[in-house]
Subunit: 493 residues, 2 copies
């Protein structure tokens, strides 16, 4: 029953609700439900954009909740809301869901915990939930989840502010933390979610359903999965194989070690399998496996930002030997090769490279020539080399170098800062245009962060991914090649 | 000829010069020499501390250089400087060094490139340099290096500003970049260099000499090495084995892949060997190998900040399942185990953990109890467990949670911010004191950065290392255990 369009997905009303019945918010601001409601109301999206749907708090006693008219019972609501959002004590969740069903609601998010993941009586309570949901034909996220983010809707139905931009990463996570607590990390690289689902115990909607939704979502260019265990192995493989030819899927799986397995079990009650089993599933599925949460997002970032790569031959451009060598070594360990430059490329480079530089690959320009060539003439020459499938570029503290160059050219001191920023904007334009026209991936790396460098920010804002170290840049470039190979295998099988 | 004290080291006058003769600076601000001189003059250390030694620019024509009286010839200098710093065109370096020798100078840093690393004539020029140095008994760093940083002296003799604090990491690097360009990265975690040497082509002073200096340096708690190749294998092993029982050494080696080896060769002309060879050397030496530049500094950071660990049994404390499971899995992959909590610990924890939490290890507190217990009562109980050799703690957006708790307690809105900061300071104090008194390592991890969170900053400033992801925290904890094992092996052999 794969949805043929995103609107047909059982997750559509959950990620795009026009109206929400909210259970568990009050005027006690330290309650979890209140916190989530306040996030929906005030922190829809960075830059104070707000969720535009209707919200109907349901509360047994309060007239208003956080300034919004409240209703004593869901039966009293003036409309049938698209979604019930439930943050209530464990024992009253089932009866609340039943009341929602009677009112005609067919979709829910159940944040409340204390079900399967705690065992014993919690299992009985989850079974009761399932029975109620089936009776009414309700599909729901959770229980024991943390909510949903849809940046396009300005909907942040979680308990922490979303601090990143709108992005192209669609995520389904068996931990709410990687939906709610990761936005500072995403923001630091200029990344962001299109949509994020915290899926909790997966009693009704599971990771496969989320993959299918994200596969159909036009704003999602790449799918990120955090997995402690896959419950429907066959369905996972089928769904992934249908999606991967269109968009990449990256998974971070933590159940592969004894320690990870035990931790996952006490987290969501899921039983994990050994690494080898999951490696097999991912290989069959065409899913790229990441080895850490940072790598998960590094890979997604570069996959979503890059055109398809044609092969594994990478040119490393640097003006510092160490970051070049470290990138080269990491390329070697990530399935990439560094081809020799073609004779035509060597000839074209001659005017630009000083005698202390190197035109081997890595192309190490050192520092003695015009810093501006670094962004225009040189990468253009390198990218037109027939041996180059992609470019990995090290970016240094350019603003300062350009300012010094301007001062040396006689530009008055009080104008160099502004002039340098203009030049940096043009350089970032040049790199972004080169990526566009060459149809080859460019991945940057730098020890400078977005907040510290207008060049890094400028590149990232123009769609050129820049990662914080040579190894992370190289591995992400390796993931592009992995995706090419996985996709190729799936489509020729 | 190992130095018995740091003052006897041939590197002492290079890292602690009372006076410097500077060659290659001028009033052209875009020249590399000028840039370095300006770094010495204006950017000795973050917070505008300045190098206090004497500087004697030598320039054939200028009366003053960057506002300092210049001398036409080194022979004219009023004193014999401790150090000659040379940033001149390749072909005049040897004659300049000769003039320095005649004036009685016995130590130099040669930044100029174009020697062995470019092959051909460059090799001849480097041989000439060696002959001149030997004639006068001069020892020097370089050529093809980028200089030296000694934060204690407020000496930043490199071409970029040093943007981190004084720290305990002593580094010797076969790439200048990892001395000059890494400070934004160090700063982001509250790390810093004690001393950093860029060693270039190692014509006179090599990585072994630097290790010996750093081994004797009282402000260096851990030694970081960036290696493209080791020239004196036996001496390296001997030096490391003498140091490791006293302080840890971490090495990042990039020559192990074909791509890394080729890149290193064109960078400094060094011939690298396969991974297996270097793994053997590091094992024999008691040196911990890092697999990336980030890991090099992560390991150094935690090794330098932590008391010796007694075993590999780690308790993971979290209030979010995913970051706990990811840390647990990474622990399992880093040689660590997660012991069960003892019955006494379980009993003591009872009042603090809600029913949705877990007292398995990871200890997952979830969110429903008093957030302040997270920093005092709970870690204290965990650290006194006889099964715990160390604690790995996940830190979330605490400031906001504390503010909400304060508001709920009736603290007026305009006072919650200040009050929350006070509480955070006390919490950071509590964690730091616990680390101190328990004599067991505590490593934190968080997706929040120092600049975004006063808790993270507070912890780091009090000597509690906090890393940016669960895996990096776990791997660094693993490095502590690796060090214990390597040291144990060396001292019992």
């Amino acid at each position: 029953m794969r949805p043929s369009s995103i609107e047909q997905s059982i997750l559509y009303p959950i990620a795009n609700p026009g109206s929400i019945a909210f259970f568990g918010a009050s005027n006690n601001i330290s309650a979890m439900g209140t916190t989530i409601l306040r996030c929906i109301l005030s922190m829809g999206h960075k830059g104070s954009m707000k969720y535009q749907g209707e919200i109907y708090p349901v509360h047994p006693r309060e007239e208003t909740v956080q300034g919004i008219k409240a209703f004593q019972n869901v039966a009293d609501l003036p409309v049938i809301p698209d979604l019930a959002f439930i943050v209530l004590p464990t024992t009253i969740v089932a009866e609340t869901l039943d009341a929602c069903g009677q009112r005609g609601i067919r979709h829910a998010v159940i944040v409340s915990a204390g079900f399967n993941e705690v065992g014993g009586e919690g299992k009985d309570l989850q079974e009761e939930l399932t029975a109620v949901a089936e009776k009414h034909g309700i599909r729901y996220l959770g229980p024991n989840c943390i909510g949903v983010i849809n940046t396009q809707m300005n909907l942040n139905a979680t308990f922490l502010p979303y601090e990143a931009d709108r992005g192209f990463i669609g995520m389904a996570s068996q931990s709410g933390s990687f939906i709610t607590q990761i936005s500072p990390h995403l923001s630091r690289q200029g990344m962001g979610f299109s949509t994020g689902f915290s899926i909790g115990n997966e009693a009704s909607i599971d990771i496969v359903d989320c993959m299918e939704y994200l596969g159909a979502c036009p704003r999602t260019r790449v799918i990120a999965l955090y997995i402690e265990s896959i419950r429907r192995g066959r369905a996972f493989i089928d769904a992934a194989r249908a999606i991967v030819p269109e968009k990449p899927i990256v998974a971070f799986y933590v159940g592969g070690s004894d320690e990870g397995r035990r931790a996952g079990f006490s987290h969501t009650g899921a039983l994990a399998g050994p690494d080898s089993l999951y490696d097999g599933v991912f290989r069959q599925s065409g899913v790229i496996r990441a080895t850490s949460i940072e790598e998960l997002f590094d890979f997604c970032y570069c996959l979503g930002a890059s055109p398809p790569v044609r092969g594994n031959r990478v040119i490393v451009q640097t003006h510092s030997g160490g970051p070049g060598a470290a990138a080269a070594d990491a390329c070697g360990r990530s399935g990439l090769t560094l081809p020799n430059l073609s004779p035509a490329t060597l000839e074209s480079l001659k005017p630009y490279v000083p005698h202390t530089g190197s035109v081997a690959n890595p192309v190490d320009l050192t520092f003695t020539k015009n810093p501006l060539d670094f962004f225009q003439a040189i990468p253009q020459i390198l990218m037109s080399d027939e041996n180059a499938d992609g470019l990995l570029v090290y970016f240094l503290a350019t603003a300062r170098m350009i300012e010094v160059a301007l001062k040396a050219m006689g530009v008055p001191d009080d104008e160099t800062g502004k002039k340098a920023e203009e030049i940096i904007g043009l350089q970032a334009d040049a790199i972004a245009a080169l990526k566009e026209h060459s149809c080859k991936p460019i991945v940057g790396y730098s020890f400078l962060a977005r907040k510290e460098s207008s060049l890094i920010r400028g590149l990232q804002d123009r769609g050129v991914p820049v990662l914080p170290s040579p190894e992370r840049g190289a591995r992400a470039m390796g993931a592009l090649v992995k995706y090419k190979n996985l996709k190729g295998k799936l489509t020729t099988e």
